[in-house]
C-alpha cells in the first residue's frame, strides 16, 4: 500500500510546546515514531490532543519545538483527518471521491475502489448533505486510501462510526502499519493493537 522506501521513515518531535490563545497547553513534548508504529494520544478534552495533531500536520504553528519527518520519502507525506470530514453538501459522495482522486493525480478507478473498501459503494449518488455522520466519516477515510502516504494523523477516527466502522478503521490502521506506514491518533476508549500511548494529561503545562 505504501511507497517502497517508507520502511526506514522516522517522525522526530523535539520539545514541542503549544498554546490556545494565551493559555499554554503543553510543553517539552518529545517523541519519535518509526515505520510500522502507531502512537495513541490520550487525555481529557482540552488537553491539546487535536492541537498536537494539527501541529504535526503543519496546520498550526507551535510555540516552540520542531517536527521532522526523516527518511527517503518526500517530507510532507502525510494525511490529516480532523474532526471535520471535508464533505461538500452539494456534491455527491462519488463525485467527491473522484475529486480527491483528481486532486492527488490518481486514476478514477482508485476512487471507486476506495469507496467500495469503506462500504460506500452503493452510496455513490447520494449528495453530501444526504449522508449520515458515520457515512461522512467513511467518505473522509477514502482520502487515506486514494493517495498512499506514510504518516496518518487521525483525530478521533472512530467518532460517529458504528461497531462495523470501528473494525474498518482498526483494519485500515493495521494494514497501513504492516506496509511500513505510521499512525498517530487521538483516541478515547479502546485504541489499536500494540501501539504506544502518549497521555497529554500527565504533561500538564507547567505554570
Amino acid at each position: 500500500m505504501v511507497g517502497a522506501g517508507a520502511s526506514s521513515l522516522v517522525l522526530e518531535v523535539r520539545n514541542l510546546a503549544a498554546a490556545r490563545g494565551l493559555r499554554l497547553l503543553f510543553e517539552g513534548v518529545s517523541f519519535e515514531v518509526a515505520s510500522g508504529e502507531s502512537l495513541e494520544l490520550r487525555g481529557p478534552n482540552g488537553s491539546g490532543k487535536s492541537t498536537l495533531l494539527r501541529i504535526l500536520a503543519g496546520l498550526t504553528r507551535p510555540q516552540a519545538g520542531t517536527v521532522k519527518l526523516v527518511g527517503p520519502e518526500d517530507a510532507n507525506g502525510l494525511h490529516y483527518l480532523g474532526h471535520l470530514d471535508a464533505v461538500k453538501p452539494a456534491e455527491t459522495a462519488g463525485e467527491q471521491a473522484q475529486f480527491w482522486a483528481r486532486y492527488f493525480g490518481r486514476e478514477p478507478a482508485v476512487a471507486k475502489a476506495a469507496m467500495k473498501r469503506v462500504g460506500l459503494a452503493s452510496r455513490g449518488a447520494v449528495p453530501g448533505r444526504g449522508l449520515s455522520a458515520g457515512q461522512k466519516r467513511r467518505l473522509a477515510l477514502t482520502r487515506l486510501l486514494i493517495e498512499p502516504r506514510p504518516l496518518w494523523l487521525l483525530d478521533e477516527p472512530t467518532a460517529a462510526l458504528d461497531s462495523e466502522g470501528r473494525d474498518l478503521v482498526a483494519q485500515l490502521v493495521a494494514e497501513h502499519r504492516a506496509s511500513g506506514g505510521m499512525v498517530i491518533a487521538a483516541v478515547h476508549g479502546d485504541g489499536f493493537a500494540s501501539s504506544r500511548v502518549l497521555d497529554l494529561s500527565t504533561l500538564k503545562a507547567k505554570a
Binding site: A17, A19, R20, G21, L22, R23, L24, R61, Q63, A64, A207
Partner: protein, 242 residues
Amino acid sequence: MAVMSFFANPHRFMAASKWPAWIFTALGVALVAFGVWRGLLAPEDHQQDERARMMFVHVPAMWLSLFAYAFMVGASLISFVWRHAIADVAAKSAAPIGAVFTAIGLMTGSIWGYTTWGTWWEWGDARLVSVLVLFFIYLGYIAVWQAMETPQKAARAASILCLVGAVNIPIIHFSVEWFAVLHQQSTFMTTDDKATAEFKIPMYISALGYLALFGGLTLMNMRAEIMRTRAEMLLQRRQAAD
C-alpha cells in the same frame, strides 16, 4: 521568541521602556509647544501671508502619518519573519497614533485648501487624496486587530494587511496623481517651495516634536498592551489551575 514566553516575563522591555516613554512624550509636548508659539504667537515681522502659519501643524502631520505607517511596516516585517511578539505590540500600538496624525493632516489640509482654492476638499491634490486612502488602510488595520479571537492570529492577519497596504500605497499615489492630471484640476499644493527658510527651521522643530510625541505615545500604548495581555494570561492560568 515565542509569544507565550514574552508575555510571561516582559520585564526586560518594561524596564527599558519606562523612562523613555515619559521623556519622549515630555520632549514632544515641549517641541510642539515651541512650534505653536513660533507659528501662532510670534509677531508678524514681514508681509508673509498669514495662511502659511498653518504649515506648522499641517505638514508635520502629513509627514508623521507616513512615518507611522513605515514604522508599522517595519514592525510587521519583523513580526512576520522573526515572529517576535514585541513587534506585533509595537505595530498595534503605533496604528492609532498614526491614524490620529493622518486625521490631523487631512483636517488641517482641508482648511488650508479652503483658504487657498476655495473648496473644503480638493480631489485634484494627489497628496491629500492618497493620505485619505492611507487613512482608510489605518482604519482597516485597527479593525483587523479587534476582529480576531486570539492575539497571535490577530497579529498575523494585521501584519499581512499592513504589508499588502504598503505595496499598494505607491500605486494608489500614482493613480491619484494620474487622476488629477486627467481631470485638469489644480494640483499645486506648494507648501515647501513657498515656505521661506526661516519658516522651515521651526517647521522641522515642530515635526521633531510630533515625532517625539509619536515615540512617547506608542511606547505608552505598548506598555499598556503588554500589561493587559499579561494580566489576561495570569487570569486564564489561574482559572485553569482552579
